[in-house]
Symmetry: C2
Subunit: 303 residues, 2 copies
């Protein structure tokens, strides 16, 4: 077992992008500041995409402008083409992420074109990021199954990863966008990508749709994946996938890792507090469990 | 990975024992029949304990009298002393289970005496079961943590298991009664008990209180545990532990195992149907996720 894993806090972007309740720029900034106070050091803060497609992210520049700087925190912005990258760079993101979708049907709905065609946008972003010396990551959506096509062959995921890596990338995330993976799928698919791209940094993105999200995170960590995405409270979803549910909850993930003596830098009580505050913003209970059950063992009572 | 694991369906007993809504004998019998129709072949059907302590199990004899026979299904009854065993035997259970609790404080609340003192009841049950040639199992509650004492040392769990095994037992279950375990705890504790009692059949009982239940089930299966408890819909709780939540849901567990090509004999669609019916009986949504998310890949559409 590793002594630590890195967590990417995705609640401000993947968590909120599908949220029907309007969330103000100030509230987003407070969420990010609460995540930082809880120990998050890599945060997916927003996306620089068409605001007509994803209205919750229309204030990307305003969010970035309000964030604290020189604090060791990396702010990840999503960009889907050269224009998005230019916006992200001007706004001051410190990392850029691009999403490819492994299956053509879902790629068409999410990215507006079949998978391989969307490599053109990545080529633009990758080239611009290299010029700007900005770290990059690729997320391969539907890496474990597609809501429209069903099973996605392992070879397809490997092919997409290799084609993406041809343009240079610092990290590749396999995303279980619709929450269908089992731990065996996780072990198999990360091993296949790792074998095809030796030395590439791997990251896992799980949704807890069929109750396997935390099991998949455990399997990923045991398989050597060093970076995990999660969201405070387990909020989230996908506007372009039916019945999508939230990311794995940061506090539940960190609880498990703490019990396994795997460090994350995240403070559980602060994470629970941030998730509880978020419930008030969104106006409903979030799916995370630790806040309701309580940390174990409980903090020592002061007599 | 094993090619199959055995599931013990515990919804009729551990699932319902803490239920505030009255559930009739007829409804319990229907639940058991639905579990059988879904493929369950070992079912914890009731307990033969003081009805003043656990009112939901007051109709133990009536439930047993109404069950189908000669169908290859094993009906497990809980008995906590010789008198309970005699009732179970007369009612026609085919297996008897006894619960020990690893921590003294919780044992006092659950069993009315500190752990080691409650071995006397087990000695009675074990002796009577041997005479009756009835298979036995021990469940060690709070094997991963106690709601009153906090951490429970691994050595304590091993000691309790060994003391229980001195009386002869066919199977030992380690129970995470309050849902605090991590997969690392699961691996460590089952290995320790297995090392102390080589060849004993091991069984895992998890509650999904802090979102680690399915991850723990995966870890148990990978560690060679061949029997897992679960409940349809994930219903359940414990009347003597604060903030206890349900067992791991049968359908979510089976979904994961199916995706890993590990057989259980359980039919997912039938299990989802039974859990949905159970929501109507109890009058609220159950915590299982598969029924809401849907089986993946979806059954082929008929054009």
């Amino acid at each position: 077992m590793p002594s630590q894993v890195e967590i990417v806090e995705v609640s401000p972007r993947d968590g909120l992008q599908n949220e029907a309740t309007p969330v103000s720029t100030e509230q987003k900034v407070e969420l990010i500041n609460r995540a930082i106070a809880a120990g998050a050091r890599r945060i997916e803060v927003t996306s620089f995409v068409n605001p007509k497609r994803v209205p919750q992210m229309a204030d990307a520049e305003a969010v970035l402008a309000a964030l604290p700087r020189n604090n060791g925190v990396s702010y990840i912005g999503l960009a889907m083409n050269g224009r998005g990258f230019d916006r992200a760079l001007a706004a001051g993101v410190t990392e850029v992420n691009y999403v490819l979708v492994a299956s053509d049907t879902f790629s068409q709905r999410n990215n507006g074109a079949p998978t391989i065609e969307t490599l053109a946008g990545w080529a633009e972003v990758a080239a611009a990021a290299q010029t700007a010396k900005m770290p990059t990551s690729i997320t391969i959506g539907a890496s474990f199954g597609c809501p429209f096509e069903g099973e996605v062959p392992v070879g397809r995921v490997v092919e997409v990863a290799k084609r993406a890596a041809d343009h240079g990338v610092d990290e590749i995330a396999l995303a279980d966008t619709i929450g269908v993976a089992s731990p065996a799928d996780v072990v198999e698919r990360f091993a296949a990508v790792s074998a095809a791209l030796p030395g590439i940094r791997l990251r896992a993105h799980f949704h807890n749709t069929r109750n396997t999200g935390i099991a998949n995170a455990y399997a990923a960590v045991m398989a050597g994946v060093g970076v995990l995405d999660s969201s405070l409270g387990g909020i989230g979803g996908c506007p372009f996938a039916p019945a999508a549910t939230g990311n794995i909850p940061t506090e539940d993930l960190v609880y498990m890792l703490n019990r396994m003596k795997i460090g994350t830098g995240v403070d559980l009580a602060a994470a629970i507090g941030a998730a509880s505050w978020l419930e008030g913003i969104i106006g409903r209970r979030n799916p995370a469990m630790l806040g309701r059950a309580g940390i174990f063992p409980p903090p020592t009572n002061i007599q």
